[in-house]
Point group: C2
Chain length 224, copies 2
Amino acid sequence: MKDGPDIARIASLIGDPGRANMLAALMSGKALTAGELAREAGVRVQTASGHLTRLEEGGLIARERQGRHHYFRLADTDVAGVLEALMGLAAAKGQLRTRTGPRDPELRRARVCYNHLAGEVGVMLYDGLRARGVLTGEGEGIALTDAGRAEMAALGIDLSAASRSPECKSCLDWSARRSHLAGRLGRGILDFTFAQGWAMRPEGTRIVRFSGIGEGAFRKAFNV
Amino acid sequence: MKDGPDIARIASLIGDPGRANMLAALMSGKALTAGELAREAGVRVQTASGHLTRLEEGGLIARERQGRHHYFRLADTDVAGVLEALMGLAAAKGQLRTRTGPRDPELRRARVCYNHLAGEVGVMLYDGLRARGVLTGEGEGIALTDAGRAEMAALGIDLSAASRSPECKSCLDWSARRSHLAGRLGRGILDFTFAQGWAMRPEGTRIVRFSGIGEGAFRKAFNV
DNA sequence: AGAATAGTTCGGTCCAGACCGAACCATTCC
DNA sequence: GGAATGGTTCGGTCTGGACCGAACTATTCT
């Protein structure tokens, strides 16, 4: 029939375990080098190089050369969105959870979703801000109220991030199956959280680990 | 690393051209038999049977036996959502559109997205209903207003559909890259449109083809 | 019952592509 | 310059899985 877009091409790119691991690693939002991604995928660097070339040709990732390093990142937030959606399906359909990893609980609690906060804490933030009238609307149509914008500015959160992404956006969570906050505000809040030292990111994971004090300060700041 | 859900398993299921074609065919919302799906995918029935078993085991489709026929449909709307999202990416990244099919313009104009209306007409409907205050909110949080519910009832649109799906829901369109209306209301409106004879569906496609009169009546009824 | 139709299972072929060793290119450091 | 480091390209191996013919099972029709 061959009607509509060719989804098999994209899906098969994601469908290789090695490449999938690389993409999952890039969901951390950090740009990673070929070597790091090779370790992530558990393959030799030559193999990884081949995968990365294919992913780049497929438009899923972007490459940036910096001296002898090649940094890779997801091509755009659309790609991140599809990956997160796939994680949602996989988590739902995963045959009886193939031995949930040791880090799973922490990932469900709070993690980075490309450039913003996901997991229970992300959902809590989203719900809290909406309940308090900082945000209005829902889903794609979500927006900061004037009061909300003032509040964020008072905290010192940077919304300027030179990017085409909308100020606010919601993103579906694979673990909680609920929306959380993306867009420039989502990114600004996550950056702010790290800048304040409220949370740190264990090397090489998507986990966002709050300190006891940090979590308290975070909840107080955003009143959730 | 193996953190988070195993997306490669699902993605590789979708990543085979034959299976992808079958899934795309099932996006029409109709339950199809193994033989029909084999034709759709362009493979022999034995091969299709194998694919269908794998898709079923993977939780992407559901099987219903009826006499000597086996009917297959997408497992749930989540699967449809991921497929539509993948189509969005594929359409965006598709290297210079590998020769858009002859039916492409019609598909972009109006098509079935699992059980509701998508394409330009679907987006127009969504925007129109929101502009007129039949719907309030956006994205996931969209809902019928009381006035809107009355109006739909007056037209005779059935919202009862015994399903767990929400009354209203928005769904991202691969062609227009905009939201359109899903959920029980979306389904009710599409069913109603066919019941009124305003549009028909060419056999074996996702196309929704309005007649001249039908389109006029549709626009008048929903005031778009 | 026998014939026709719809699907599945089995066995075997075949190929795309994942993988790695080795050689090669590019950049940085000393 | 030479050595070290990070990536890519090339050539060859090997396997998963897509595919189909043939045989088999299940259901319906007459």
